[in-house]
């Protein structure tokens, strides 16, 4: 049983990698960006877990900025994804403009909250 599941898992990962290899480069870049942001957030959270969250607003703004950028990037990815039916009529440039705007607003808030 366990072996079967592991085999399935391997097969799954195989197919996953193959499937992911098919994704275009710009999406990959975005994914990389997301991963980067999430990792940064994770590091900050670990730090908080170690030394406690004293300047709470700083911690909050740090983590939320990472998460926020990640989320926005995911949104961007969703929107510029070619095989996403819902956004055919939405040009990727428009999506990118929205992305930039949203990021700017987000970071204005972050800066304000950073104290």
């Amino acid at each position: 049983m366990a072996r079967s599941t592991s085999k399935d898992a391997q097969a799954l990962f195989q197919s996953l990698r193959s499937a992911y290899a098919a994704t275009p480069t710009n999406l990959k870049i975005i994914d990389l960006y997301v991963v980067f942001a999430v990792l940064t957030a994770a590091i900050q959270i670990v730090y908080m877990a170690i030394v406690g969250s004293f300047p709470f607003n700083s911690f909050l703004s740090g983590v939320l900025s990472c998460i926020g950028t990640a989320v926005l990037a995911v949104c961007l990815r969703i929107q510029v994804n070619k095989d996403n039916k819902e956004f055919k009529d939405l040009p990727p440039e428009r999506a990118f403009a929205d992305f930039v705007l949203c990021n700017l607003v987000l970071h204005l808030v972050i800066m304000n909250f950073l104290g």
């Binding site: 898992a9 799954l12 996953l16 909050l60 949104c75 929107q79 819902e86 428009r94 999506a95 705007l101």
Partner: protein, 776 residues
């Protein structure tokens, strides 16, 4: 069918219709603004009730001192001797809005006083609110429904009750913010563009600034998202609509001082975080599903889901831990009283003592949302066919708001827009069905069908104003195309129009029935309009600070409150402390500019309980309490002479309860004669000796021979008594406000004062030849 056969006609009709709709919206705005001016016309341009006075004072401060002083404003005129940090404890949205309006107007060289701006803020924003409603409903069910809903909301009584000119309170702008936030959410949900998501977050920020009710949004939207996920309606638009909102919204909310870290600490907000995580998991799942072949997906689901569930549980555990460790131990009192209606009355008398925190009665439902109450179910049904994300959201909205309004009268206000939207949808649907059936009956002349549909529906909802007239005819015209476009864009699969045509054929009703039904609808609308105009004119436009009463010999105006406050501001020292029950705290600080002990922002239960105890203890003890609080004057409101029901004697039991909650030697049963509250000769001695009784009824018997209280409809119990520790300094014309002064502490050594007096007299007696030689 229409769109295909005469396309250019439809386009022309669209253009025409858009302009027309714009015009109608303008008129609706004017209607919404003008229907709220009754109070100004009937009375004068004054700020109403209690809280608005505080907001007015804060606004004045803002316009005088500027924004930064406003942020860190420590107010020492209230909550003496504690003081209160206004900047950190007030929702700044309303103040900032009014301040900005004032600033703009003055920079345009239009000299308006701050008070004027404050008085007219509410009507202006109600106009905005109706437009926001139009937008929201348009997103849900198209233009026609939007216009109807906007027209309904423009004059829904429960909203009028909070936004008549002069009631300058948070809700005035909050409702607009609420609806607009919802609109942007729906808009984002429909278009799925990040731009609207950003706007949505900002609108949410404005809502957070304006009103504590923002928790409603931050709980309702996650519920809706969860609903969509559960009903398998997840789409990446949903993700775009929700995830940025949570992140940005939380950050923005944390920027507001009064909310601060509560945005992440208190459990009102945890639902959103939970859903935030869930939606990520779900998004991942959908993504993988999209990537993988179905067979592999079967395998993947097991793994991913298990992992996802584990993550979820972990996060839930973390959240629970946070709840346990969060400062407010979970939910704040008001929210708890929302979840458990009996909570407040059980635990927090302060919350329960406010009348608008009581659960409403059925008449109040009818009073506040009138016929909409009957139209709402129809609207819900209409929303179910077909069920879209937006309509499901509206349904959720109405359901939850109905529940909340059932808990607190105050939240009837949240219910009102939902009800308006629903009934707007219902009305427009109904009209569409009927007019279409009529049209199918006589296919030859679609035009005059529209015409007669028009003038049939002409004098419906707002019979005597042409706004609604044209509007109705308008939306019946524009129903189909807009609806069809929506259909297209909503179901991407797109069912063949033939099918819809068939079902339309099925929907045909007999001509007479539909005409009759339309006529009935018109009657219904007319009734609604009449009712709400009456409500605006009579019920809700009274600024509880100037009272009127119709009696056999005409109209009486009781302006006692302002009389009393003016007296205070002119006849007392600037830093005298005035003690009264907390209802009058804001007015005293705002109008009399005197320091008060407690006021309507009830942040310190103990302090209020102290005042309550003083009011309900005998004279001497009360004097000691007040003296220890450095109080110079005591102000009581007494309606017994003119029959003003909401006076301090009627509030007295709350004082006793609140006081007794902290100081156990005040026991409620001592004031009740076998369970009932009475002030006549049957009253308990404790009642007859307490300060409130004495201050209210002092010298009352001198008005009419026997001291008959018009509110309690009885003769008072103890008529002739004198005050030893207080002296009456002022009583207004109708005895509604009575102000007493604490006598200075008695001089200990009587004889000594006499002696010194006599000596001074002998010394000053110059003409009496013998003077003491001062050199000795």
């Amino acid at each position: 069918m229409a769109a295909s056969e005469t396309s250019n006609g439809t386009t022309l009709r669209h253009a025409f219709g858009n302009v027309f709709a714009l015009f109608i919206l303008l008129l609706i705005g004017v209607l919404a603004f003008s229907i709220r001016l009754f109070s100004v016309i009937k009375y004068e341009s004054v700020i109403h009730e209690f809280d608005p006075y505080f907001n007015y004072r804060v606004t004045q401060f803002l316009t005088k001192k500027g924004i930064y002083d406003f942020w860190n404003w420590f107010d020492d005129r209230t909550w003496y001797p504690l003081g209160r940090v206004i900047g950190g404890t007030v929702f700044p949205g309303l103040t900032l809005t009014a301040g900005t309006i004032w600033w703009i107007v003055n920079s345009l060289n239009i000299p308006l006083s701050v008070e004027t701006v404050c008085v007219f803020t509410a009507p202006i924003f109600s106009a905005f609110a109706s437009w926001a409603t139009y937008l929201l409903t348009k997103e849900v069910k198209g233009v026609g429904a939007g216009l109807t809903a906007a027209a309904l909301l423009a004059m829904v009584p429960s909203y009028i009750s909070r936004s008549v000119a002069g009631s300058y309170d948070n809700e005035a702008v909050a409702i607009f913010a609420l609806i607009f936030t919802f609109y942007l959410y729906i808009k984002t949900l429909n278009t799925g563009s990040l731009f609207y998501a950003t706007l949505n977050a900002i609108a949410y920020f404005y809502m957070v600034c304006s009103w504590g009710g923002y928790t409603f949004i931050i709980n309702l939207i996650p519920m809706h998202v969860l609903l969509c996920i559960v009903t398998g309606r997840y789409s990446s638009r949903l993700y775009i609509a929700y995830a940025p909102l949570v992140v940005l919204g939380t950050l923005l909310a944390a920027l507001v001082p009064v909310v601060g870290f509560n945005a992440v600490m208190t459990s009102e907000h945890f639902a959103s975080f939970l859903v935030f995580i869930i939606i990520h998991v779900v998004a991942l799942v959908y993504y993988i599903k999209g990537v993988l072949s179905p067979r592999m997906f079967k395998v993947a689901v097991t793994l991913v889901l298990s992992v996802g569930l584990v993550v979820c549980f972990a996060v839930i555990a973390v959240l629970v831990a946070l709840v346990a460790s969060s400062p407010t131990k979970g939910w704040s009192g008001r929210s708890l009283s929302l979840l458990d209606p009996t909570y407040a009355s059980k635990y927090i008398p302060i919350i329960a003592s406010v009348s608008e925190h009581q659960p409403p009665t059925w008449p109040s439902y009818f009073m506040d949302i009138n016929v909409l109450a009957f139209l709402v179910p129809a609207g819900i049904i209409a929303c179910f066919s077909p069920l879209s994300d937006a309509s499901s959201f509206v349904i959720l909205y109405i359901v939850t708001s109905v529940y909340f309004s059932g808990v607190m009268v105050r939240l009837m206000l949240v219910l009102a827009p939902a009800a308006c939207i629903m009934s707007g949808i219902a009305l427009s649907e109904a009209f569409e069905v009927f007019t279409r059936s009529i049209k199918f009956q006589l296919p030859g002349a679609p035009i005059d069908s529209q015409v007669d549909a028009g003038d049939k529906s002409s004098d419906n909802t707002t019979a005597q104003n042409d706004v609604a007239k044209t509007e109705k005819s308008e939306d019946t015209i524009k129903e189909r195309p807009s609806r069809k476009n929506k259909k297209k864009e909503k179901e991407p699969v797109g069912q063949p129009s033939v099918k819809s045509r068939f079902e339309k054929r099925l929907l045909v009703l007999p001509l007479e029935a539909s005409i009759l039904a339309i006529f009935l609808l018109v009657l219904l609308g007319a009734f609604y309009v009449v009712h709400s105009v009456w409500a605006a004119a009579e019920a809700y436009s009274a600024p509880s600070i100037v009272l009127t009463s119709h009696s056999h010999d005409g109209l009486h105006v009781f302006d006692d409150f302002r009389e009393a406050y003016a007296w205070l501001s002119h006849n007392t020292e600037v830093d005298d402390k005035v003690a009264s029950w907390w209802d009058y705290g804001y007015q005293t600080t705002a109008m009399a500019n005197r320091t008060v002990i407690v006021d309507n922002n009830t942040w310190n239960n103990t302090h209020i309980a102290t005042v309550g105890t003083a009011m309900s203890s005998p004279e001497k003890a009360a004097w000691e309490i007040f003296n220890s609080l450095d109080v110079k004057y005591v102000l009581v409101v007494f309606g017994g002479l003119v029959g003003y029901p909401s006076d301090d004697i009627n509030k007295f039991l709350w004082m006793v309860r609140i006081g007794g909650g902290v100081f156990p030697h005040i026991k409620e049963p001592d004031y009740l004669r076998d369970g009932q509250y009475r002030i006549d000769s049957q009253a308990t001695p404790t009642m007859l000796n307490c300060l409130m009784y004495k201050l209210s009824y002092y010298r009352f018997v001198e008005t009419d021979g026997k001291g008959f209280d018009r509110v309690r409809r009885t003769e008072i119990g103890k008529k002739y008594f004198k005050l030893n520790y207080f002296e009456e300094v002022f009583t207004t014309h109708h005895w509604m406000v009575r102000i007493y002064k604490l006598k200075p502490p008695k001089n200990r050594i009587r004889g000594k004062t006499k002696k010194s007096k006599s000596k001074t007299s002998s010394k000053t007696g110059k003409r009496s030849g013998t003077k003491k030689n001062p050199w000795h």
